[in-house]
Every structure is written in C-alpha cells, then in structure tokens.
Amino acid sequence: MKHVAVLGMPNTGKSTFFNRLTGANTSIGNWPGITVDLMMAKVKLGEELTEVIDLPGIYDLRGFSEDEAVVRRFLESTPLHLVIIILNATQLDRQISLALQVKHLNLPAVLLLNMADEAPQFGVEFDPDKISQHLGIPVLPISAKYGNGYEAALKAIHNAVQQQDKPIITGSVEMCPACDEKIAVEMENLLQQAVSTPEQIQTNLTTQLDRVLLHPILGLPIFFGAMYLMFKIVYALGIPLQDQLQKLLDWVQASALKPLVAGLPSFWQGFLLDGIYTGLGTVASFIPIIILFFFCMAIVEDSGYLSRSAFLMDAFMERLGLDGRSFVMSLMGFGCNVPAIMGTRVMRSPGLRLLSMLVIPFSLCSARLNVFIFMTTALFSQNAAPLVLFSLYILSFVAAIFTATLFKSKYPNKEPLVLELPPYRFPTIGLIFMRAGNEVKNFLRWSYRFIILGVIAIWLLNNLPPGVPPASSHTFSGMIGNLTQPLLSPLGINSQLAVALIFGFVAKEIVLGGLAVIYGQSEQHLMGAIAHQIDWVQAYSFMLFTLLYVPCLSTVAVLKSESKSGKFALMSVAWSVGLAWVASFIFYQGTRILSF
C-alpha cells in the first residue's frame, strides 16, 4: 500500500481537507516512537488503496515544539510516496517557507493553497504556476471548506502518487544554518515574483468585529456573556438529555433485561445489571454532553473566538502559568469535567495542557452540585444553604488557582505565547458534526473499558462477600470504610459516609443512590436519617472532600487517555485526594477547636 502524509501550518484548514479527502472512516494509528495521536485513513485513489496520515500542524520542520519533533520523527522514519502540503493562500508571505523546507528534503510533494477564496478579501494575489516553477512541484488553489478546486487537487494528488513507484524516506531533518539562509533567499525571490501582499493594512470584517469583541472595556463582559451562553446551551440542553437517556436505560433494564436474567442467582443478576449494564450506561450518559460540548467548541474555535479569549484573559492567566484557553476549559468544566479535559487538545504545548488538565477537575461540575444541593437542604437552614453552596464555588476556584500556582513550575509552558489570531470565519455545519462525531469516537475508543471495569469493581466491593446486605459494613467496601476510619474520622467522616465516597469515585450522580443503599432508606427519607446522624460541621467537611477529591471514574479515564500517561492520571488523583484530606482536616478540626 502507498503512503501519503498531509503536512501544513496550524489554522490552514488542514484537518478540513483531511476530512474531505478521507470521509468519516478515520482511525488513530500507532507509530513507533510517536506519542501524539495521528489520524489516518485508507483512501481509494484511482484503483489503488492509499494510506493517508494527518500530521499535526507545525510552523517549522526544524522547530522546537513537541508537534514539530513528532513530524520530524515521522518523516525520518516513514517512507512516503507523497507529501501533501497545505498552506493558507492569504498568508503565503510567511507560510511558503514550509514548502521550501520540504523541497529541500527532496520529498515528492504537492502544494495546495487553501482558503484561496479568502485571498481577494485581503487584497492578496498569487500565481500558482509561478510558485510551481519555483518549487518544482504541482501547486493548486483550493477551498477545502467549500470544495472549490478540490477535484483538480485530487487529480494532481492521484497523478503524483501514481508516478511515485518507490517510497522515499528523508535523511535527518536537522539544523542546517546554510540551508536556512538558502531558503530565506529563495523565499524572497519566490514572493517577489509570484505573490503580492498589500503592505497597507485594511479594514475587513475581522478588524471591525475585533473592535467590539476585543474592546478594552466591553471585551471582557462580552466574553463572559458568550461563555455563559455556551454553558447554558451545553448544559441546559445536555443535562435533561442525560436524564432522559438515563430514564430510557432504566426502562430497558426494568422491562427487558430484568425478566431476561430473572432465572439467574441474585448475585449474577446484580453483577450483570448493576455492574456491567450500569457501566455501559455510565459511558453512554456522557455522549449527549460530549456532542453538545464539541458542537459549541467547534463554533467557538473555528470561528476564531477561542484564540481571542487568550488575548482577553492573558494578563490574569499568565500569572498562573496558563492561558485564556485553559480558562475557557475550566469554565466549561463547571458543567462536566470530561469534555473540558478532552477540549484541552487545542493547546499544543504539553506543559500548558497538563497543567490545565490538572486544574479542570476542581471545577464544581453539575454532578457534584446535586450532592451539595441535597446535603445543604438536609442540614442547613433555608437562609444558610445558598451561602454554603456559594462558598463551595469559591473554594472550587481557590483550589484551581492554588493547584496552578503550585504546579506551574513542574509543567512549564515551554512554547512562547506567540499566538495567531485567525480571521473570523463561519464554520460549516458539516464540519461541526464531523468534529462532534470524532470526539465521541475518541471518548469511546479509550474510555469505555476503563469506566466499565471501574463500575464493576466498585459493584463487587459493595456486594462481596456473597450473602451480606449490599454496601453494609460486612462487605469489602464496608471494611474499607472501617479501615479508613483512622484517616477519615479526624475529618468528621464516619464509615457510612466513607462508603459513599467510594461510590462517588465512580460518579457523583450515584452518591445519593449509594447513601440510600448504605442507610437502607428510600431517597425521600434519607435526608432525615442523615440529618439525625451528623451535624453541619461533618456535612460541610464531607462536601469539601467531595468537592476536591477525584470527580469521577470517567474524568480519570480521560485524564489517562488525553495525557497518554497512567502516571499523570495517578498523580492527579493522588494530589486531589491529598488536597481534599488536608482541606477537610483543617476545616473540621479548626471548627471543632472554635467549639461549634
């Protein structure tokens, strides 16, 4: 099979082109020594099945970033029949350098000048034939978004692949000051003869929009308004959808699955229904939120507004070692941490990404909010309850800022913040759906096994050894609850609440259900039972712990899959549990000393 790589700078519509070329049947490839996900797909070019690989967007083949190192390693280790170079036609004045670098590696290549439809808007003119003469490779203007010039480009790619019988592997893509000088000269010549870029700066839709959206006074309020709107759309729609899906799953369980397994011993019934089926349900319940989240993210990101958030929030975020995009993700984490962590992929600097991923789990998500509303209603007066809730939100921010400050030297952002602010664009519906679909695929690919196994493990803990009441003190989880008492009783957390925390490790949604099982009460009577047993100091300590320790199994699963490091996920869990313990300890003991 022949191999073709797609190479280009960031913000050139490279992925749009890749999606157009490959359709929906993409997969993630494993390449020796490469730690970043590379999308690939098998495409029929003429008669021949060809494997197309989408490389990460890079600025410079000899650059210092992680992505640039990945592309280098890939080119040095993979024999290729063709490199498709994608550049932004309106920014040839700077991007043509990448094409010249590829030319110097003697790789067979085709250059596509994408977004050619935008060039007149910017007063940019270029001559593809002259560029082609300079580079000695076919050069074609296209619009990957609208499909203009796509057929001709496909034909050129097909021809080039057909002519290339043997794959070519490049030598080392190393530093070479002499080549760099040569490239600089060639670049000047080429630009002078084939490209004209206006030196005068002109107004267009983008400069006019920026005048409002990046306004010194109005900019931030508009940004927060936009974020609020996005939050509302994702979660006002997503949470009810999640509930409906849960109801549907419950209905299937009650009306179809239960009769089906009725003949089995009750342990196996529980294992199949409450273990495996609930695990599947947990995975499924995230899908509507992930879809909605990435619908909105695709709009915010592809429109160009997400990079503007970096500009607006930078003065504050720089001090935390983060940038405005981390802020957007943390904010979205207040709905659900899982898509927010997946969303950090837009940040290409590994340090920045890991630090953001470490911070997001402290965002008080809607599942935790349920627990807090229940506890505050049970144990606090009507006047005090909203204040208590508000204090938890404040603490959520404090924990995030504290974590960022503490870890920013461990995960330094090595990439300089020189960020492109692309022109505002309208994303197409097709692209938005494609993005959401890919993200769901991504979530399912990595996370489902982990989540299902986790749910089963917790179910087993709550139901083994056989024959004892579920989640009682005789089960394994009850024993763990008792074992942890020396650690947790100084926090005012008794053994029943400790078992609830074990439930909460799976998902905060099931903490209340778990408490009902533990206390042997229906959820309606649970409030009274708990209020009878613990006082408000214990309750607040429990909530503080719940706020700070691991949000849920699914969050741990995406932390692991997105960081590609079990160690990082483990560290995140250990840090949050440690912080939860210390915070609850200080609160509980402090309050007791003040003799409440």
Partner: protein, 92 residues
Amino acid sequence: MMSNIRLEALKPGQSAIISQINTEPGLEQRLLAMGFRIGRQIFVLRCGWLSGPLHVRIGTTEVMLRRQEASQIEVTNVNNFQLRPVNPGAAA
C-alpha cells in the same frame, strides 16, 4: 532616521519596521514562521488590559504576543497608521 526602540514601547495605532530580533532560537523560529522578518512593517492594533499582550499585524497575519516577548524585538521608523477600506480593485 530614528533609532531603534523596543516593539513593546509602541502604542496602538503605531506601525514600525522590524530591525532586530534578539531572542532565543526557539522563539526566533516561531516569530519567523509568524512573519516577523527584518525589514517588514508591523502594526500594533491594540494592547490587553493590565499590561496584557499586544495584538499586532504583519502582512495579512494577526498575532498576539506577550510584552516579555515584544521587548526582545527592536523596531525603527515609527509611524501612525489608520485602517483603510479594502482596495476595490483587489476585491474584483
């Protein structure tokens, strides 16, 4: 002829010619890829609040960069500029 000043010192609405880039190689390479080449004209569109980043434009590329990075770029020939409407001939 004006002497060199740092890009950081430009105000929104001012343009200048890049005369020198004194940064470590990683940043220099990134700046080059963004179009920061010696002799090119750079326009400062706006500055963020609380000594936040600069929003600049070179050719058709708009870029934000922090003051720390901007202080390592020297410019000369400072002028004031105004945004012009698109040349109708080019749009046709």
